[in-house]
Structures are given as C-alpha cells and as structure tokens.
C-alpha cells in the first residue's frame, strides 16, 4: 500500500465545501497522524469512497460546531476523546447542542477502554465506541464498521424523506 492509494484528504474545514457530493463526508477529529493514517488505510481497504476532513485541534473542533458556524454537515464524525485543549466529550456536547449537527452519527475512536469514559458518552447518542486496537488486523476491521454505519444512515435518511 502506498500513499497514493489512500482516500483523498483535506486538512481544513473550508475545503469541505468543494467536496464531491457523492463521496461520503467524514469529519475526523483526531490529533494522532498515525491513527489518521491507519484509519484511512482501513477505509480504503473497505473500499469506502470518502472525503476525510481531519481536525487535529480541540479548539478548532469546538469552533466548527459553534452556533452559526458555516460548517458543512458531515455524514459521519469520528472523534478521539483525548485531544489537546478540548476533550472529545466537550466537543461532542457542543456538537449536539447545535441543531445542525444534532443528528450526525458519531463514532468514538479512543485509546481509553475505561468504562467511566464509555458511560460518560451514553447521553450523546454515540453510534459506536471503538477502542483503538493495537493489532493491525483489528484496526483494519474499523473500515467495514464505518461502512455499515454509513449505509444504515443513508437508508434512514432516505426513509425519513430528507
């Protein structure tokens, strides 16, 4: 696998506006570039055609969801809990407080397996809580999980006539 095989990736939110409509818009809030890299590999291995927007800073993530911010609504948000400046929980709270993002499916991708972290997330309608696996094969398995969530979400979106 080489870099060119990886899904297209932008670094800043404003570039998302130019994104191709058919591609799945994924917002990844994660500060560890290696994890972003592994995530891209997993998505590519699962043959998921997506546009990734990566935000590696808590403060920036908070700004994205501030009321009135002109951030495009992604199809899915993948959030790490352990971020500089603002933690994932805070970011998700801000996101859910904004009606635009209230229904965006969220997947937590965290190195913490602590039940307390898990339980804190319960009230935010989290689609899946994935503990970052150490084993490569297990990490690759995240791709199919994302695909599944996206397809369920699409079906839901259609059936609700959005």
């Amino acid at each position: 696998m080489s870099r060119s095989d990886l899904p297209e990736r932008t670094n800043k939110g404003e570039q998302m506006r130019n994104a191709v409509e058919e591609k799945n818009q994924l917002l990844v809030i994660e500060d560890n570039p290696a994890d972003v890299d592994l995530l891209q590999r997993a998505l590519a291995a699962a043959k998921l055609d997506c546009q990734l927007t990566v935000v590696d800073d808590g403060a920036l993530a908070m700004a994205l969801f501030r009321p009135g911010a002109a951030t495009p609504v992604p199809d899915l948000a993948i959030v790490d809990l352990n971020l500089p400046k603002h933690g994932g929980i805070e970011i998700i709270a801000q996101m859910r407080a904004n009606p635009m993002f209230a229904d965006v499916p969220v997947v937590i991708l965290s190195s913490s397996s602590s039940p307390s972290d898990r339980s804190k997330m319960e009230k935010y309608q989290i689609r899946r809580y994935i503990v970052k696996p150490a084993d490569l094969d297990e990490f690759m398995n995240i791709g199919p999980q994302i695909r599944e969530i996206l397809s369920i979400n699409k079906k839901l979106g259609r059936s609700s006539g959005a």
Partner: protein
Amino acid sequence: MHPFRDIPIRQKLMVIIMSVTASALVLAGSGIIVADSILFRAAMQRDISALAQIVADNSTAALAFEDPRTATQTLGSLKARPHLVGACIFRPNGAIFAQYLRPGSGMECPAGNAADQMLFTGSGLMIRRPIELNGRRIGTLVLLNDLGELTEHIGLYGQAVLLILLLSILVAFLLSSRLRAIIAGPISQLADATRQVSETSDYSIRAQKLSGDELGALADGFNEMLARIQSQDSELREALLAQAAALKESQEVRDSLRTTLASIGDAVISTDARGRVVFVNAVAQSLLGLTEADLVHRPLDEVFQVVNEFNRAKISSPVTEVLREGRIVGMANHTILVARDGREIPIDDSAAPIRNEGGSIQGTVLVFRDVTARRRADETSRLLASVVQSSDDAIFSWDLNGTVTSWNQGAERIFGFSAAEIVGQSVAAIFPPDRLDELSSLKARIGSGERIEQFQTLRKTKAGDLLNVSLTVSPVQDPTGRITAASVVSRNITEQVRAADRLARLNADLQRSNEVLALTNQDLERFAFIASHDLQEPLRMITAYSQLLIKSFPGQFNSEASAYVDNIVDGTTRMRELLTDLLAYTEIRSRDEQPLELVDLNVVVENVVQDLKASIDETGAVISSDRLPVVRAFRAHFQPLFQNLIGNAIKYRGESPPRIHVSVQEVGGELRFSVSDNGMGIDPEYHKQIFEVFRRLHGRKIPGTGVGLAICQRVVERYGGRIWVESLAGQGATFFFTLPNVAIRFAGEDK
C-alpha cells in the same frame, strides 16, 4: 264520718234551725190536735147524751101507750142530724119497739138488753139509756152516732196545723238564712284566715273581728296568737340566719385551717390534752409511714418515735413535755424519727400547747420537718469547702471591686501569696502589668452575669514568674440574685502549654510532611495514570506499524526479520498488558463521583466464570460458590477482584485439575469472603509480597503482570477491608477478604 259533722257550719246552722222549728211546730200541732179531739169527743158525748135525754123523754109517752108509730116518728126526726146513723127503742124485754136507721149506713140495732152505757165503738159512739116513767123503766133507748164528724174535724184541724207548719218553716228558713250569717260569717272568716296562714305561713294575716261576742273574742284571741307566733317566727328566723352564718364562717375557718395544715410543707400533728392524736396532716402521715386512720386517737408517744442520732437513746416526744410544762418546746438537735417501716429521718421539730379561752391546755400541736435535704446540703457544703480548700487548682473569689475575698491552698501554692497576705487586697497583684486591662474586662463581664470558661491567659506569682493559667470565672449571686462577686478556678497549665506547644510544632511538622507526602502520592498516582494511559499510544503505533511493515513489503523481509517483528509485537503487547493493569490499578481510587449500585456477587462470579471459560475448559477446573450476598458498591470493582482471585487459582494450579470454591461466612461479627483452591500454594515467606504491584513469584513460564493481587488489595482496602492469604507451598491457597464498609444483604433479606 257522720255526714252531718262535715257539712259547713252555715248549713249545719240551717239544718239545726229548721229541724228545731219543724219539730216544735209538729209537736205543738200534734198536741193541739190530740187535745182538740179529746175535747171534741167530750163535747160529742155531751151532745149525744143530751140528745138521748130528749129523745127518751119524747118517747116515754109513745112507749107507755104502746104507740110505736109515734115513737118511730120521733125517731125519724133524728135524720136532721147527719152523723146520727141509728136510733133504737127497745121494750124492757129487749125487743125493738121503734127504730131509725139512716138509709145507706148499713147499721142495725144492737142487742136490746145490754147494760146502759156510752161507749166508742170502732165505728162510732153508742149510747144506751133507759126510758123511764115515774121512775120506772119502760124501755131502753140506743143511739148510734158515727165518727165522721170527729174525723172531719180532725182532718180540718190537721190541715190547718200543716199549713201553719209550712208557713212557719218558710219563715224560719228565711229568718235563719239571715241569722245564720251572724254566727257563720265570723267563723268562716276565721277559718279563711287560718287556712291562709297555714297555706302561706304568713303570720301577718289577721282575722276580722265582726262581733263583740265569743266569736269576736275568738278572733281577738286568734289574732293575738298570730301576733305572738309572728314575732316568735321572725325572731326564730333571725336566730336561724345568724346561726347559719356563724356556722358557715366557722366551717370556713376550720376548712381553711385544715387546708393550711394539710398543705403546709411541714408535718403537723395535734393532740388532745391527754396526748392522743387528733389531727395529722399528709406530710406527717408520709413521714411516719402511717395513715390518718392508724394515727388518730392513738397516744402520740406510740406513733412518734424519736431517737438521738448519735447514742440512739429514745427521746420522749416533746408533746409530753409541753403537757407537763405548759410551754413551747423545741427538740434537741440530731433527732431521728424512726418511721414505721424502719426508715430513719433526721427531723427538726417543736411542740406548743393549745390553750382554750380560759387559758387551760386543751391539747398540743407538734410541727416537724424532714431535714434530710438540708443535712445533705450541709454535708455537701462542708465537703465542697474541703474540696475547694484541698484542690490543686487555685480557687479564689473577688468582689466587684476586685478585692480578694477568699483564697484556697491551691491558690497559695500556685501564686505564692498566702491567704492572709492577699485576702482584702486587690486581685491585680496576680495580673502581669501588661494584662491589667483584663481585670476591668473580667469585672464588666462578671457584672453582667457572664460566665467565662477555660479562658487561657497569663498570671504572675508573688515571685514575679509568669504562669500559663486556664481560668473559669463565674458570677456569684447573693440570695436576691444580685451579682456580688466572682469565683475563679485557676489551673496552672504552664507545663501543658509548653507540652502543647511542642506537640503543636511536631504536629505542624507532621502535617507538612503529610501534605508533601500526599502531594507526592497524588503526583505519583497521576503520573501512573497518565503514563499508563499515554504510553499505550506509542506502543500501539509500534505494534501496528511493525505489523504494517511486514505486510506492506512482502518478500523483502526474511524469516529472521519477521521473528524480530514478532518479538517487537510480543514486547509491546506485554507492555500494554502491564500498562492496562496499572491503569486499572490506579483507576480503582478514582470512582467516587459515580453513584453506588447494587451488585449481586453471585452474578459477578458467574460473569467471571464466563470470561475465564477458555482456561476453565482447558484445565478442567471446577468452580463452586456459596450463596453470595448483594452489595452496594461499584460493579467495576468486583469483576477484577473475583477475576484475579479465580484466575490466579486456575493459573497457579497444581498437578490435578483446579477445584476452586468461593465462600462467605460470618467470623467475629464481619463477613469473610474466601476463594480457596487446590493449587500449588504459596510459601508463607511471600504471603505479604504477593500483594505488591508488579511483584511476581514466577518467571515467564506463567504469564502475568504482577498487578492482579495489588488490584484486589486496592479494591478491598477501598471498602475498609483487608485481604490476606493462608497457604503452604504445594497445599493450595485460600485468599480471604473482608468488606466492612459495604452495605451487604443476602437474597431474601428485607434489609
């Protein structure tokens, strides 16, 4: 009774008058009639006799000449007399010579030869008379006259009499109805008056005097009697009222005296002149232990038994003395009353004579009281005085001017002033110069009734040394409640203060080192948490990218390089296990923000068995458990606790398949859980070490991080419990733990 007696006088009088009048009249009428009829008969006899003479004379010739015709003629003239019913002339031989019989009368001539006579027969008057010629009897004449005339006469007369009678009765009635009022009026008036008096009891009513006769006198007498009764009645009435008032007053006085005596706090007994109990109040009854019924009429000496407190000699009751001497007697001190139930009560008493108006002794009154409380108070105050005097604390007092009024031995010892030196002097003598303002403040606070407790300050001894003292200063009140002085208890705490200072310094040092230690501990905990958490990340990277390296460049690494990568992955995996366990270990203490939940330990053990299924199947382990309780705790603590203990029991097994039993039993008032196995056991030398973090007794042969038992210990200690192991090498092991701070309940219990 006799109906006549009951009828009113008015009618009685009338009946009397009428009956008297009627009977007098009837009697008079009857007399007149009788007399008249007698006279009338006599007149009739005379008349008839004369007529007979005439007829006889007129018939003499006819008879002498035997001429019956003439004779009959003569006789016939008699028909002019209506009542002459028959006339017969008989011959001397008795044969009828001539006769006249009034037609319709039915009469016949009687026998002709009867004796001469005149007689009344049933039907009338018959006269028989001779007819003589020259003195020779030539015939007999008989005349028969009926009584019709008499009857007629009497009837007429009777009618007259009856008429007069009726008229008289009428007049009498009219008169009597007038006259009877003269008698009956006053009587009925008197009777009315009497009835009124008896009905109303009003003795002012008077009968009216209507006449000057006996009835008038009777009315006078009646009135006089009434007047006397009236005056007596009113006197009696007044006397009765006065008596009632007097009685009521004396009753009230007696009641109030009795109430006073009954409710008085002292015991009161009164006796008569012979010393017998007459009255005894409730206090006396209770002190003597006898009831009023037991006491009254008994000689006082029998029921009031007193002895001398010290020599137990019987003392005669003061009543005897009063009766003998006739004066008030107080009892000697130290008198003990022996109550009936044997109680001994110290009493004060006195007795006094009761004199009547004439001054002679009528009885006595004995007053006594239980002085136990006062005696006790006296003893207490004596005791207190000696306590004060012998106290190690300085106890003294000063008046509101600050002048010392008392000074005990403790004060002498502590401050160096003798009582003689300082009493009467200002208490300022023991105040250090720079604390003299305390004195005025103390005076003001005491003056306002405040009590100052445990006030620590400095005082000065006679020699000028400074002392640390703890003062308790209390206001002293006189019986009227006015604050007159301050009592001071002053304890010399110089030594304590010094010791306390030293202790405080030591404590402060200790506190500081504790804080440092706590901070260090916190830092360490934090460090361990962060490290174990954050170190995961790079290890994950190492693992993932090592694997990626091999996968991304297939064919470019030989088997040796692959083995190296495997070693890298193994190392990082093991490191991650260590970090994960370490993280779990540090997290046990950071759960306080979550609510406690009910954790069924039976379920926890089941879950653990489920989780360990692979190794259980592999080793053929048999795991059994007692019925375990439900606890109120954090579920996340008990899973690792049992997982580590049971997992260890499988991991460190012996030759035979593991047999593991979880049990709980009450030992010494607390629940003791245990997990016992038949495994390889632990040498007692290591029984303590095994609970330390990262401490392992076995090499790589048996995998493990050395954190499991440390986690168990941490969990148990978090709930105030302890964990230990009982085991010998090769003989299995039993891990025990207790959970004192956990609310525990067994299934089926209601609590």
